[in-house]
Structures are given as structure tokens and as C-alpha cells.
Symmetry: C2
């Protein structure tokens, strides 16, 4: 099948690598003709709201999907008229609106922190009073990797926070005193089969994912299983087709659902070598209407993001058992340039490999 | 780096998939602009001896390699003038000439069967007398997958055999009464690091590889290790850079070296999910002058070729732990269309998976 992907970044590239291996071909819509996905398919170069580019992109596709969720609704509508599009509108609309998202989590048995919709400075101040401080003010839509967010430690912070987020409709969320962060990546096929990868533990730095290990250490197995099951319930309730990730805060009282991403997710990159079927292959299978592959882990896996500056390649390649993924992007502060995966049958081997890689990455980052 | 590959078949495609993941980009020289490798790079469409196509292919490459060994020497010479080419001339010349190949094996401590160079019908008859019957007459160069070969059961077969191979310079080899077939895939880096994957067992059908399992069952571990070491000696002696496979006959008296392939090899396809670093990634690393990855197996692996007709995809995709590799080629009798890999921590699980896949493939083949 010829599968169209809106967005040609590293997620598009990895979807292409996984999908070509199982016999599919790819086309991408991206403003940059030299985007990472250009290595694995034709790129229709154009803005995401350029009707002419969209028409050329959609022409003759067997299936369509996207690698990021902030695609204009009109674009997806135009594409869906020409080729079956997955995930669907329901997933996107829910994920694009932090209020709907939290309400959806709550409706499907996931714990969420206190929150309130706000659309004025006075509204933020009032929400602080009701929900409590400290809290986080986030734009209701279009935020990612820590952008469009402001911390409110006391009522005095409200004016600056409201200015920082750009005075747009927001959600005010109670700060969650979490001990760590975790996520579940899951996938649902077009005929309703739904499978979750094991709960994994994430560590962020500067609002950007730094590392993931799977399965998540130190989480009660019952709690992990319930998070996996709840994620599957959310996918089923949304009629979601493809991969979705839900991020959680780990607290002494259990997991608190934070947000969903209706697409392949950075916290699932470990699945390339660490699971029987990667999140990328499973997303392609789902979009293509094919049976899902096993989401079982192949051992103890780990992933470290390469952000801002690529460490010396030969050092990374020399670590036994390390799997370099280099997206071929130009280096720039804060930019995800690649990641390194490890997967070992033994937990201590995995941790030793991660320690070696962390040392290389620490020296490499500028 | 931009890596040029002469040949755009499935081996080129899999080199591209592995190499893009670690940050390289690819260009292919192939007569067919819609060849399997077109999914993973630019194809310069032209004959392998077309000087204009060769010049366009070689322009601006950082490195060059090939996916099959029967490339005209002049073509490789022209490419090598413009970009570092690996493997080198010594490997190619040896692999392209079955007499040189056998002599090279013998000189580096590998057992070979009786053989003789022949270049006339009378010469074949004489060789039958000295080497013995039954035997196999093979063209000295340019044969693969059972083409250009004829069995000689008695002296009476000589005229027909000589006609069958096309009356060209040949090797006459004593038939080896083997119990099974095996191979070692190994890789050598440009700075002389050489590593072998575990000896694997191969089963051919109609001269085409049907299945591989690794490690090879029923072979004495000392014999397997010696085959791996001998293969490494051959790569070192040739100054080979990249992947090479040596095929062996397993006999009650030990292994007999049959032939080498100076490239990634079908009997190494199991390494994609079955080894810490695949043969494709390691070949790219070697060609690019980068450190090699571990050749350690990740468990008990197996591979079944999909030849002539693709079995129902959804059946293959539904087998837990099966990894479909579909090259996207049009079906045709005798054509390799894809393969399926399995890799399990337990031998019995691997064998059960292989049995399920064999049943699907048996029904699928036309």
C-alpha cells in the first residue's frame, strides 16, 4: 500500500523504515523537502494548510496518517475525503484539547489532578483559588515539549503566567507532587484488537524527554497492569486506530493521567529493538488495516535521546549492544537529533549499558 | 554519509533500511527505476555497464559498495576512482572465480572437496576420472542460485553437462555426501576488526535457500567455532571490508567449504531481529569506516524465504513473534519476494513458530 504521512520528521522516518520492511511504500507532506522522512519516501513539499500541496499529497494514497497531532482540521478533512485516515477525528479532537482530554480520562476510570478551564487573567486567579497552588497554566491546545506552559507558584505569578502563555484559552492544573513519570504506549487495529506495551518510566530534562526504561522499575505490577488496561480502554472508547501514548505521573497514591498523544511517541522508541513488534510497525499495521504484532518486551530496554548536539558517533557505535538511531538532522539547541536504544536479557546489563551511554551523551551535549 | 550501492534489489533495500536508521543516506545503480531499493533512496536507472549512468551514480558519493558480486570489473573500477569502494577487488576477484576461491579456502586452512579446472568436454571427462564421480560441473564465474550447474553422475553425462553449462570455463567438483548445509556470515571493518555471526544451518529447495536456523543445531560446538574462526581468517587474508558469507557442507568428517559471497547474504537475514546488530547494519558500518556492532545472537533465530508467491500477509502477520520482510516485488516463479524471521529465547518456541510459518508458506507457494 502507498501510505501518506502528514509530517516528515523523525517519527515519519521511523514509520517509513518499519513500514517499508513489511512491504508498504510512503509519501510525506512536509514544508521541508529535505526533512528526515525524505530518506524513506517521496516528500510533497508544502505548508500543512496549502490546498494544492494537500491535493498532490493525497492523490492516489491507499491510506493516510500523521506523525504529529497539531495538523489543521481542514487539512485532515481534505485528506480523509481521498484516503482512509487513521487515527480519526475523535482521537485528534480529544488530544488537541486539554480540557476534553482530562474529562475523557476521568470518564474512563483514569485518575486526573484538579483542573479548570480558564480564558482570562481573572479566571486564572479564580482557578488558583479553587484548584490550589502551585499549579501549571497550559494553553488548551497546540503545546508540546514544555512550550506554552507556565508554573504558578502563588497568586502573584498569575499576571506573568497569563502573559507567558500568550493570553489564550488555557487549562489550569493543580501541580502533582510526583515521584517519577511514566507512560503507556498502546495500539488498536481497525477491527478493534487493542494491545499495550509495558508501562515505561520517563525522565524529562528541560521539558524534553531525556530517557525511558521499560518496564518501569519500582511500580507495583498491579498498578502497571491497570495503567495498561486503562490505556486500552481509552483507545477503545475513542475508536482510535493506530498507536497512542498516555503519560502518567507516578505518585505515592498511584498513577495520575497527564496527557495523551494520538500517534507514535518518543517514550515508545525503545520498542524498535526492545519489543517483538515496534510501535512504528504496529502503527503502520493498524493504519493499513492489518493484524497487530505482539507488544511483548524482548528483555529490559532503555532509550536515551540525543538532543541538541550529536555525541561522537564512533563512541556510541562502540558500546556493545547499543542501537544508534540518527535522524540525519542538523544540530540545533533543544532539537531531537537521534536516540540510542539498549535491550538486554539482564537488568544489570541494561543499567550498565545505560550508564556508559549517559556518560558519552553527557560529554557530547553542548 | 551518502553511500552508493550497485544493485537495487532486496539486499540494497535492507542495506538502506539499516543504514538510514544510523544516519546515512543511499543511492542505487539499477536497470529498474522501480526496484525494491527505490523505497530507500534515489535510483540512477541504467545498465551496470552504462558509463553515463555509472558517472551519475558515482558523482558525490562518500562511499560505495555493491549488493551482488557479478558487477563488471570496469564498472567497479570507474566507481572506485570517485569514491572509496568496499569490499575491494581482491575479495571480488576471488569470489568471482570458483578455482581461485577453492584455492584460497585451502590456503587458509578450510577443507575443500576434490576439484579441477576444466575448459573442454575432454577436460571434463578427464577430471571425472581423476576427481571421481558423481560430481558437479559449474561455470567458473557468474553462477548463482543453482544456475550454470550440472550434475555428472557418470562419464556418460559429460556431453550433456558440458552443453548445459554453456561450454564455458568451468570447475569440476567431487560431489560431497553432506548431511546438511551451513554457513558463516562475518564482517570486517576497515581497521581490521573482524567478527563472525554464529554458524547457521541452511536448507535449500530447487537450488534456492528455503530456510535458515541459527545457531546451527547438531553441529559440534568446536567445529562451529572453528568454522567461524576460519571465516574470519579468510576475511582478514582478503583484506575484505564489509560482510562476507562462506557456505559449508556438513559431513560426518567435519565441514567442507563450498563457496563465498563477498556481500550480505540470504543466510544472514535472520540477523535483522536475531542478532544484536544485523548483517546489513554491520556492512554499512564497515563500508562507512565506522566501528562494528556486536554479532551476538539474541536467542534462537530462524528465517523462511518467501519464494514465487506471497502467502496471505494477514496470516504471516498474525503469527506471534513472526517478523515479515516483504520486498514489495511482483510475484514470479522462483523469485525471492520476502522472508519471515522469528527469534525466541527458547528453542522449542522457535521451532514451534517455524512449524506454523512453514505450514502457511507451504499453502501459499504456487
Amino acid at each position: 500500500m502507498l501510505i501518506g504521512v502528514v509530517g516528515g520528521g523523525q517519527l515519519g522516518q521511523m514509520l517509513g523504515l518499519a513500514g517499508i520492511a513489511i512491504g508498504h511504500r510512503f509519501r510525506f507532506l512536509d514544508p521541508d523537502p529535505a526533512c528526515p522522512a525524505a530518506a524513506v519516501g517521496e516528500v510533497v513539499a508544502g505548508a500543512f494548510d496549502d490546498p494544492d500541496a494537500i491535493a498532490r499529497f493525497a492523490h492516489g494514497l491507499d491510506r493516510a496518517t500523521f506523525e504529529f497531532e497539531n495538523v489543521p482540521a481542514a487539512t485532515l478533512g481534505a485528506i480523509a475525503e481521498r484516503a482512509p485516515l487513521a487515527p480519526g477525528v475523535m482521537s485528534l479532537r480529544t488530544a488537541q484539547d486539554r480540557i476534553l482530554e482530562k474529562e475523557f480520562f476521568r470518564a474512563h476510570g483514569l485518575r486526573v489532578q484538579g483542573f479548570e478551564a480558564v480564558d482570562s487573567e481573572a479566571g486564572v486567579a479564580a482557578a488558583c483559588g479553587r484548584v490550589g497552588v502551585p499549579g501549571v497554566l497550559k494553553t488548551r491546545s497546540m503545546g508540546y515539549d514544555g512550550k506554552g506552559q507556565a508554573v504558578v507558584r502563588s497568586a502573584a505569578d498569575v499576571p506573568a503566567a497569563w502573559a507567558a502563555v500568550g493570553r489564550v484559552p488555557c487549562i489550569y492544573e493543580a501541580f502533582v507532587p510526583f515521584t517519577s513519570e511514566a507512560s503507556v504506549v498502546a495500539v488498536r487495529s481497525s477491527d478493534g484488537d487493542v494491545r499495550a506495551y509495558p508501562l515505561c518510566a520517563n525522565e524529562h530534562r528541560g521539558g524534553i524527554l531525556h530517557r525511558t526504561v521499560a518496564p518501569a522499575p519500582g511500580v507495583d505490577p498491579d498498578i502497571a497492569r491497570e495503567a495498561e488496561r486503562a490505556t486500552c480502554r481509552v483507545l477503545a472508547a475513542l475508536g482510535h486506530v493506530g498507536v497512542m501514548a498516555i503519560e502518567f505521573f507516578v505518585t505515592p497514591e498511584g498513577l495520575v493521567a497527564n496527557e495523551m498523544a494520538p500517534r507514535v511517541h518518543n517514550s515508545g522508541h525503545w520498542t524498535i529493538e526492545g519489543a517483538l513488534t515496534s510501535q512504528f510497525e504496529n502503527h503502520v499495521r493498524a493504519v493499513a488495516g492489518e493484524p497487530l504484532g505482539s507488544t511483548e518486551a524482548r528483555g529490559f530496554a532503555g532509550m536515551i535521546n540525543l538532543v541538541g548536539r550529536m555525541p561522537p558517533r564512533e563512541r556510541l557505535l562502540s558500546v556493545p549492544g547499543a542501537h544508534l538511531h540518527d535522524y540525519g538532522k542538523r544540530a540545533r539547541a533543544g532539537r531531537k537529533l537521534g536516540h540510542v536504544n539498549v535491550c538486554a536479557p539482564d537488568l544489570r546489563v541494561r543499567d550498565a549499558q545505560m550508564a556508559v551511554l549517559e556518560a558519552i551523551v553527557a560529554r557530547g551535549e553542548g
